[in-house]
C-alpha cells in the first residue's frame, strides 16, 4: 500500500515540479535576454547552445562572456535569492504567527550592514576581506545575539520573545551602522555602502551561484520536510504541540535554517526588502495557507519577482543602475497595500 501511495506522490510531485521548472526556466531566459545593453534572444540561445553542448557558433567573446558570466549568473542568483527570501518569509510568518514577519526580523540584515560597514569604512581587513565576507560575519553575529536574547528571556515557547529580541538586535546593529558611517565615512564611502546595502546583483559571478543555489535548495528541502509541522502552527504553538509537533525542536531547526539562508543571501546581494514580506502573502492569496503548496509557490513567485526586479533595476533608467532593493520596495509596497485590501474584503 505504501508503494502505491509513494508512486502517486511521486507522480504528483514530478508533475508539479515539471511546470514549476518550466515557468522558472522561462523567467530565467527572460532575465538573461533583457539587460543594460541590447542582446538579441537568438544570440542568447546561441551562447547557451555553445556552452551547454558545444554547438560551435562563432560569437563575439564579449557577448558570449556577458550572457554566460554576467547575465546567466545574475538570473540564477536572483532566482535563488528571491526563492530563499520568500520561503524564509513564509516560515517566519507561520512560526511566529505574525503576518509582518520577514527574514530580516532576526536582525540579520542589520548585522550584515554593520559587518559590511566595518569592512568598507573602518577598514577592517584592509581591503583583503570583501564586503560579502564582512556582511556574512555581521549577519551571523547579529542572529546569535538575537537568539541568545530570546532564549535568555527564558519564557515559555512564545513567539513574542524572538520578535522583540529581533527588533532589539536590529535596532542595536542599525545604530552601530549609522554611528560608523557618520563617524568615519566620506561621501563616497557612504555612497558605496548605501548602494550595497540597498541590494544589488552587479557583483554576481559563478562563485555566487555555486553558493546561492545549493543553500536555497537545502533550505527549500528543510522547509518542505517540515510542511506539516508548519501547518500545525495554524492555531498557535500550544496547539501544534498538542498535535504532536516537537515545537522547540522544530522552531530551532527552522529558524536556524532561515537565518542561514538569509545570511548567505544578504552577504551575496545586500539587503533586498519586501520579497520576504510580500511574496508569502501573494502566494497565500493564490494557493491558500497549506505549506505543502505555499512553500513551493512562494519560492517560485519570489524567484520570478526578483529576476524581474533586477531586470527593471538595470533598464528602468538608461545608463544608470538602481539598487534592486529600491525596485522591490517601489513594487512591493503598493502590492502589499492591494493584498491587504483584498484580504480585508474577503473577511
Amino acid at each position: 500500500m505504501t508503494a502505491v501511495f509513494a508512486g502517486r506522490l511521486l507522480r504528483k510531485i514530478s508533475l508539479h515540479t515539471a511546470w514549476v521548472l518550466a515557468v522558472l526556466l522561462a523567467a530565467i531566459i527572460a532575465g538573461i535576454a533583457i539587460g543594460e545593453t541590447p542582446i538579441s534572444l537568438s544570440l542568447v540561445f546561441q551562447v547557451l547552445a555553445n556552452k551547454l553542448w558545444g554547438a560551435g557558433f562563432v560569437l563575439d567573446p564579449i557577448d558570449e562572456g556577458i550572457v554566460w558570466n554576467y547575465r546567466l549568473t545574475r538570473a540564477l542568483v536572483a532566482a535563488a535569492c528571491g526563492a530563499g527570501l520568500a520561503i524564509s518569509g513564509v516560515v517566519l510568518q507561520s512560526l511566529l504567527r505574525n503576518p509582518l514577519a520577514d527574514p530580516y526580523l532576526l536582525g540579520i540584515s542589520a548585522g550584515a550592514s554593520t559587518g559590511a560597514v566595518l569592512v568598507a569604512i573602518i577598514g577592517i581587513g584592509a581591503g583583503a576581506i570583501s564586503l560579502s565576507a564582512g556582511a556574512f560575519a555581521g549577519a551571523v553575529a547579529a542572529f546569535a545575539l538575537v537568539a541568545l536574547l530570546a532564549r535568555s528571556t527564558g519564557a515559555v515557547s512564545g513567539s513574542g520573545q524572538i520578535i522583540l529580541a529581533g527588533i532589539a538586535g536590529s535596532q542595536l546593529f542599525n545604530a552601530l551602522t549609522s554611528f560608523l558611517i557618520t563617524k568615519s565615512a566620506n561621501s563616497e564611502q557612504a555612497r558605496g555602502i548605501m548602494f550595497w546595502l540597498l541590494g544589488n546583483l552587479s557583483g554576481v559571478r559563478w562563485q555566487s551561484v555555486t553558493l546561492a543555489v545549493p543553500v536555497v535548495l537545502i533550505g527549500l528541502a528543510v522547509c518542505l520536510w517540515h510542511r506539516r509541522s508548519l501547518d500545525a502552527f495554524m492555531f498557535g504553538s500550544d496547539s501544534a504541540a498538542a498535535l504532536g509537533v516537537p515545537v522547540r525542536r522544530v522552531q530551532a531547526i527552522l529558524i536556524a535554517t532561515v537565518a542561514l539562508v538569509t545570511a548567505v543571501m544578504v552577504s551575496l546581494v545586500g539587503s533586498i526588502g519586501f520579497v520576504g514580506l510580500v511574496v508569502p502573502h501573494a502566494a497565500r492569496l493564490l494557493v491558500g495557507v497549506r505549506h505543502g503548496r505555499l512553500i513551493p509557490v512562494s519560492a517560485l513567485a519570489g524567484a520570478i519577482f526578483l529576476i524581474a526586479a533586477d531586470v527593471l533595476s538595470r533598464t528602468a533608467i538608461k545608463g544608470q543602475v538602481l539598487p534592486v532593493g529600491v525596485i522591490t520596495a517601489l513594487i512591493g509596497a503598493p502590492v502589499f497595500a492591494v493584498i491587504l485590501i483584498k484580504a480585508k474584503g474577503g473577511r
Binding site: 543594460e36 567573446p61 564579449i62 558570466n69 581591503g127 561621501s187
Partner: protein
C-alpha cells in the same frame, strides 16, 4: 657712433622690444592687490581688508595650490587628505599641523583663529556642511573660500558627488589660483603659476595632435564598492572628461554625474580604446588598489576580452589628478605621454 653701429643698436633695441612684446610673460609686472578686496565666491561676497595672515585648508587640493603659490608659512592647519602631499612640498608640509585626515570638526578649525578657510568641496561647508556652514564661519568673521571648480556650474544637491550642469573647465582652476593669489597679494607668483599651467596643457595637447585620436575612446575607473560590482567611473562633465576632451578622446560614459556607477556589461560592449585606472593610498575597498583592478580586468571572463585589456592600453593615474587639483595638469601630461606610446589601431 658710426651709422652701421647705430643701425645695429636700433635694430637690437627693436628686436628686444619685439621679443618683449611677443613673449608670453605679461608686459606689465603683476599689480599689488588693492585692499579692501571684495570678490564673489560661489554666491557669497568675501571682503578682505588685508592679506590673510593665517589660513586653514579643508581639502588637499586647496592645500597644494596654496603651497604652489609659496604660501606654506601662512598655513596653520590642513585637513581632508587623500594621499601623501606632492613630494616637492613635503618639507613645508611637515611644518604645518594637520587637523584631521578626513573632515575636521568646526572647533578644530576655528581654534586656529584663521583669517581664511580654503575649501575644496562644497559639501564640507555648504548648506548641509559636514564641518559647518559658510554662515557659521562668517558669523565668526572667518571668510570661507570655496574652490570655484566645485560650485560653478555644479549642483551639489543632486547626485552623490554632485552633478555638473556645465562641463568642468580648466578655467576654474586658473581662477582659483588667480583669486587666491589676489587674496594673499602674491599676484606675481599667481600669474607665473597659471602661465606655467597653461603652457603644460598646450604642450600635452600638441604632443598627441598627430595621433588621430578622433575615434579613440576612454574610460576612467576610480574604484568599486566590491571588486566585481559596478565600478565608479568618470562622468562626461567632470575633470577626467576634461582630460579626455583636451586630448581629443571620447569618454564612453554618458552620465552627467561626477562618479556614476556603470555596469561592466555596458563598459565591455562599449569597448573603450583606453582604460585609465586610479591609483590611491586609501585601502577601504579591494578595488582601491590599482593592482587589484588590473588583476580583475585580466581575470574576469568578459573584461579580459576588451581591446584595451588585450593590448594593454591601460594607464594608471593619480586619483587626485582626476579631481580638480593642481595635479590635474600632471595627469593630463601623464595621459598624453602614455597615449603617445600606444598603438591605437589594433
Amino acid at each position: 657712433m658710426s651709422l652701421p653701429r647705430f643701425a645695429v643698436l636700433l635694430a637690437s633695441l627693436g628686436f628686444s622690444a619685439l621679443t618683449l612684446a611677443a613673449s608670453p610673460a605679461p608686459l606689465n609686472p603683476a599689480p599689488a592687490t588693492k585692499y579692501p578686496l571684495t570678490l564673489d565666491n560661489c554666491g557669497v561676497p568675501l571682503t578682505f581688508d588685508k592679506a590673510p595672515g593665517k589660513a586653514v585648508t579643508i581639502g588637499q587640493s586647496a592645500t597644494e595650490i596654496l603651497y604652489s603659490l609659496g604660501l606654506a608659512d601662512k598655513l596653520v592647519g590642513t585637513s581632508l587628505w587623500f594621499n601623501n602631499v606632492l613630494p616637492q612640498f613635503q618639507e613645508q608640509n611637515a611644518r604645518v599641523p594637520r587637523l584631521a585626515d578626513n573632515d575636521p570638526s568646526f572647533e578644530a578649525v576655528i581654534n586656529k583663529r584663521p583669517d581664511l578657510v580654503a575649501v575644496q568641496f562644497e559639501w564640507m561647508v555648504g548648506p548641509q556642511g559636514v564641518v559647518g556652514t559658510r554662515q557659521q564661519f562668517s558669523e565668526l568673521k572667518i571668510p570661507t573660500y570655496l574652490m570655484p571648480s566645485d560650485c560653478e556650474g555644479k549642483d551639489n544637491l543632486v547626485g552623490a558627488d554632485g552633478t555638473r550642469l556645465r562641463p568642468f573647465s580648466v578655467d576654474s582652476l586658473y581662477k582659483t589660483v588667480d583669486q587666491l593669489a589676489q587674496i594673499f597679494d602674491v599676484q606675481a607668483r599667481g600669474a607665473e603659476l597659471t602661465a606655467d599651467l597653461r603652457s603644460r596643457l598646450a604642450k600635452a595637447q600638441a604632443s598627441v595632435k598627430d595621433k588621430q585620436l578622433k575615434d579613440a575612446s576612454v574610460l576612467f575607473w576610480f574604484s568599486s564598492a566590491d571588486l566585481q560590482v559596478d565600478p565608479y567611473v568618470a562622468g562626461r562633465k567632470g575633470v577626467p572628461a576634461l582630460m579626455a576632451s583636451t586630448l581629443g578622446l571620447r569618454n564612453i560614459v554618458e552620465s552627467d554625474e561626477e562618479w556614476p556607477t556603470v555596469g561592466w556589461e555596458t563598459i565591455a560592449k562599449a569597448n573603450p580604446t583606453i582604460l585609465v585606472l586610479a591609483r590611491m593610498d586609501r585601502r577601504r575597498f579591494p578595488a582601491d588598489d590599482f593592482q587589484k583592478k588590473l588583476e580583475f580586468l585580466k581575470a574576469d571572463p568578459v573584461t579580459k576580452n576588451m581591446d584595451a585589456v588585450k593590448h594593454n592600453r591601460i594607464v594608471i593615474l593619480d586619483a587626485q589628478a582626476m579631481e580638480a587639483t593642481i595635479r590635474t595638469f600632471d595627469g593630463i601630461e601623464e595621459l598624453a605621454n602614455a597615449v603617445d606610446h600606444f598603438d591605437l589601431h589594433k
